[in-house]
Symmetry: C2
Subunit: 476 residues, 2 copies
Amino acid sequence: MSEIKYNKVTPEIIEEFKKIVPGKVHTADDINEDYSHDEMPIYGNGYPDVLIEATNTEDIAKIVKICYDNNIVVIPRGAGTGLTGAAVAMYGGVMLDMAKMNKILEYDKENFVVKVEPGVLLNDLAEDALKQGLLYPPDPGEKFATLGGNVATNAGGMRAVKYGTTRDYVRAMTVVLPTGEIIKLGATVSKTSTGYSLINLMIGSEGTLGIITELTLKLIPAPKETISLIVPFENLDDCIATVPQIFLNHLNPQAVEFMEKEIVLASERYIGRAVYPKEVEGVDVGAYLLLTFDGEDMAQLEEVTERAAEVVLEAGAVDVLVADTPTKKKDAWAARSTFLEAIEAETELLDECDVVVPVNQIAKYIKYVYEIGEKYDFTVKSFGHAGDGNLHIYTCSNDMQLDEFKKQVAEFFDYAYNKAAEMGGLISGEHGIGFGKRDYLASFSGEVQMKLMKGIKETFDPKMILNPGKVCYKVN
Amino acid sequence: MSEIKYNKVTPEIIEEFKKIVPGKVHTADDINEDYSHDEMPIYGNGYPDVLIEATNTEDIAKIVKICYDNNIVVIPRGAGTGLTGAAVAMYGGVMLDMAKMNKILEYDKENFVVKVEPGVLLNDLAEDALKQGLLYPPDPGEKFATLGGNVATNAGGMRAVKYGTTRDYVRAMTVVLPTGEIIKLGATVSKTSTGYSLINLMIGSEGTLGIITELTLKLIPAPKETISLIVPFENLDDCIATVPQIFLNHLNPQAVEFMEKEIVLASERYIGRAVYPKEVEGVDVGAYLLLTFDGEDMAQLEEVTERAAEVVLEAGAVDVLVADTPTKKKDAWAARSTFLEAIEAETELLDECDVVVPVNQIAKYIKYVYEIGEKYDFTVKSFGHAGDGNLHIYTCSNDMQLDEFKKQVAEFFDYAYNKAAEMGGLISGEHGIGFGKRDYLASFSGEVQMKLMKGIKETFDPKMILNPGKVCYKVN
């Protein structure tokens, strides 16, 4: 395709925006620094020319149509909690602050769905649904992301092992296309074989194919009880080898997280409280599984706990600690939930990769990245979802120069991604590609697949104005 | 785009094919009549010029490349059990008999996946997996379809209410593109946010975007026990209104099928055995729910059965019959499993639609189609999946002229599809669009979505040679 040239937003166009959404249009000095980056600032900073508080589908369609007619870049942004620069304005243009559309619109309890605006925070829906006796199963680590953002990255989270990822809970959506046209995809229903699955293409497209302006999400009846187990092991190998045994024994945990001692220590420093045992009967603990089971009543869960304890002890666990009260469960999960914050608190320069490998390769993979990591000046920290093989590998430094850090990290990531691919994994489990991982996607997927993705991008966005520079489209 | 012109297969090209797959190339008289239609012959008959028994990915890529270079139509076909003409050669060309690639390649028990060739029959994988203690959850009515065909239509089936549809069990696939290029999509892993979801686009694309040559499918540990309940109601309204109560009470059935008395009678005539009660304590039975629960042991299932019985009786059921032995379960399901055969056995002219409506609209919808059906000379019969709102509506006639039948059915389907759309449903739950439902898809989805689908089709298939005339692409 021919070279793309984007236009600047003129004062006349700003006036047009103001007529559509009076009081919601912000320019230049009026834009907070927060909007210039996401949670991984290493992927670049950039301000949009204009920031518009999103109001509703129709207004967004009008705004986008103006941008389409004038070759102006549009970037939809949720809460800005992404880790790949996907919601950052790299080329100016108009940023739509979707977080402002944050109403839970309607529960349909007979069909187990809820209709929401895309800016509703995960945490807000989760809490509100529970009040109705319902569970929204996706449970990404970042609770203050928007649901629109969750859908745009197909966010995974802790409960994916039992309940699947965000993709599995999206029933329908309204989308404003880069042309300003409005489409409605999907339905309240769960089964569909009605043409190409455009809705599944939108899911995980990171704001590059269309702007999600309404979502219908599936809910399930909330399990009545949960119980968590902290299971210490002497080393990571034993810890990971235990995971398939859990499933083969028909235990069906809601979450299976693994953690190594180092990161638990960092996290406990951060929360200022020690919860996890570091030594059991003279054995040094090297790694832990944190399991959660859900069910209808405590009697049932106690039985599951007994069976689980047998299985993990047989598989090499050195102990089993049961967290069966709200306080104990909160404590057990507090350490896990603050891993990223704990790392951030101790680190100046930070980057991460979010690979996913087959579950039985986790230990081998982790060992590999630590070995490779030895060669570099940064420190490698990792944690992840043992139930689904999704690993978060952090590179942390407090004394390196930025350029040198970036250079070394790029080399390290090449090894890390290649190894994941070699083991039959993928380069992102839940954080997405955005801006930061685009070149890695290209080398992982290969030319043919990138050509297909670009062709799809052009079909949806003939002028390439929507969130350029992300996923598969590199601005010339 | 400009007009497409397809070329005939020349004797020279046939020779080239024979060099690639000696003994596997069939022409003209050598092609069995079975290959000229699917299970719904009303959508037209057509022979390919050449029928090739598929062997492996590389050979298929070579064959497709020749077709691509020469503008020759290619049609992949599984077992031919489709109901929309999707696997029928409407424009001649080369048909690939994918059913010939029917090997179960490898179980990976630590990661709970199985690698198969696309021509493996659903029934064969289901039985083989059970021998390993594993369950392949998708359970479409037609057990002798190929898995490739199941993926191509995102087949749903009985257990979708608990376990989801085929889409949820596809982890990875190898695809030969219409250009002859080979791509590998997905991985053994369950989480992904690695670029646009090309694999989800392939799923449900009915052999129009690429040819699936290998599949990696997710399995789960097989539940150890199942129990079925036959629940008679006075009428369909009471029957359908009961369904949400089952879920709200945290019962989690594997299957929730509804059936009306008429179709049960037809089915019992077909199998020559009466299983379902027609009268309970002086009350005429008008409709039934057939429920299946699975679990770890009979004690647990008996408890579930007790709770389920309370819920359904409270909701208006007139009785609950428990099928807890293999014979009783087989009997209970025999009637349900033979609905289509029972209808076919009594019918000369047949057509069907496969709408899906929100679960709480089922009774209203069924009532509507019967009322509209009164206006026509054919008979309407229906059954469906109460747990997910997927309904199969059959139009049956033994005394109408074909043209008149087609005319009346087209009018009736217009009403039926429009009503499904109005109620927030979709025009196909699991049978797909193929050739027969293409115009209905266009009017349901609207111009903008059809343009996107066509753009995607052109991206994958620049010469529009793969399975033309299906889903979104009408040959000029």
